[in-house]
Symmetry: C2
Subunit: 277 residues, 2 copies
DNA sequence: ACGCCCTGTCCATATTATGAGAAATACACC
DNA sequence: GGTGTATTTCTCATAATATGGACAGGGCGT
């Protein structure tokens, strides 16, 4: 080894920190606990390995999370879990602008009139999230979406309605983003989604003809904000194909439109704003 | 003012801290955002007032929460919201030991056989939490519980089943705790709950005869763990009183028992342990 | 123009979180 | 019962981190 003077090891520490190391770490731990591969709980060892944190630090973090009820520890097994309070937090996160509360009667009314299953979706970034659902009485149920499910904008009637009625520039940007996110998925290709959007705009509603699930169809409309170009949410109905043919489909759309308009007005009155991301 | 030498102001700081100030603060902020009175979003000012934190500190905390997606800020209005990821976290918290996933087919089967509404509950501390629900086809629905709802142990069929089949000492402790928590509620009085527990043990199932909602009845059974004295969860059925009379009620209980036994076996096989608190 | 309030950023400071290690505790395997 | 291993808690010196006061840029009403 030539004894060259070692170049003074530059601190090279690119802290890049914004002064919130511990919070960041704590939230990461929560994310770990939420990852579905560990639904059956995580041991301390699991957490230590997966997080890469120092033991002492991890104990301290877990202690804090536990003290606030965000994490629970099973006494017998010693496994760590997300605290049950996340149920409450989860509901709260869905209730932006009281959207869910205000929308519920509309969902119920639509489900009663149509006997099919109704969904309420909102936009989050380049995704659509199903926020609420109301099952209809018709025995063959089309339960494509569970509450909390994410779909890229454009996939499914609700997600397509959210996308299609955005300002053109924003819409095109999102379509491009999703095409990049899912390069291997032909359904997300720019041409394909653009075609769906065009048709939705022409017909005034989003129509999903079995793209997600064979033999299941759905229609969706935007919930208008100040203007129709600023949708606050989307309402959609799913049913088996037979119940979605031309004459009935128009009726369903009319019902959706009516409720969406009323809901939109109520939301605007309460100062709701379209969600971006 | 006598110029007495000021007694050296003892630091008197009782930090009492466990070295997790910032995490504690961050979690408090999340709680604030989740509080329902602010469902329509909180301005920075709101948060500052409600949290009592220094502005800079609050900015940093919110920045960290936002960077991790736990908090979102609405661009137009500047309002802060819980991030939509809480939906996912909420689902995850319900899926302990994959309970929800494993239980779902059982719920569906019970709902199909009985046409009534079925609930899955677990214990959390001195409460029961409704973790999942499956609606039956019968047109008059008894939707006493929403997913995520908490009830003190003993109130309602599911919560009573969870309580009644615990080891006696534990049960009595919990009954006493809840009586103290709700001193003004006669339904939670020790004598009352004890009587319900006794009957449940004698008959082998929990029966709620309109205590929660007039004209609505429910039956519940524990999902057994290693032994029946270590219930992992509870299954219950709610219906209008007419559908809960003697002959039918026995059938319902039999169906519940069968599914609960199967579910319990599956859970035990996966190493599930009863939840405490 | 002026004051007032709200919003956001900077930066010196000491308070706080950190992590190594030791000590205590539980647990398994003979 | 005894030995070894894993788990959990505690202590403590240290530096890195989070803190909060000060400052600066609007917006708005008067």
């Amino acid at each position: 080894m030539p004894s060259r003077t070692l170049p003074p090891p530059p601190p090279a520490k690119v802290p890049q920190r914004e002064g919130t190391q511990s919070i960041e770490r704590a939230l990461r731990v929560l994310r770990l606990l939420a990852s579905t591969n560990y639904a059956s709980g995580m041991s301390f060892q699991d957490l230590e390995d997966a997080s890469g944190l120092n033991r002492s630090t991890l104990y301290r973090i877990l202690g804090a999370l536990r003290a606030e009820g965000f994490v629970e520890r099973h006494p017998a097994s010693g496994l760590f879990f997300l605290g049950m309070d996340f149920l409450a937090l989860g509901s709260a996160s869905m209730n932006r602008f009281n959207l869910r509360e205000l929308a519920r009667p509309h969902l119920v009314r639509i489900a009663e009139q149509t006997e099919d299953t109704v969904f309420l979706s909102i936009r989050s970034g380049a995704d659509s999230i199903c926020v609420d659902r109301q099952e209809g009485a018709f025995p063959i149920k089309a339960l494509t979406l569970n509450i909390g499910d994410r779909r890229p904008l454009g996939i499914g009637a609700g997600a397509l309605a959210l996308l299609a009625f955005l300002p053109r520039a924003e819409m095109e940007d999102l379509v491009a983003r999703n095409a990049r996110r899912f390069p291997s998925n032909p359904a997300m290709a720019v041409e394909n989604v653009t075609a769906l959007v065009r048709r939705s705009r022409e017909e005034g509603y989003a129509f999903n003809d079995g793209q997600v699930l064979k033999s299941m169809c759905a229609v969706g409309v935007p919930v208008p904000g100040q203007t129709r170009r600023q949708p606050l949410a989307a309402l959609s109905i799913a049913a088996i194909s037979e119940r979605m043919r031309a004459p009935r489909r128009a009726r369903l759309v009319a019902i959706l439109e009516e409720e969406a308009k009323a809901l939109g007005a109520a939301l605007v009155a309460r100062g709701a704003q379209p969600l971006g991301g």
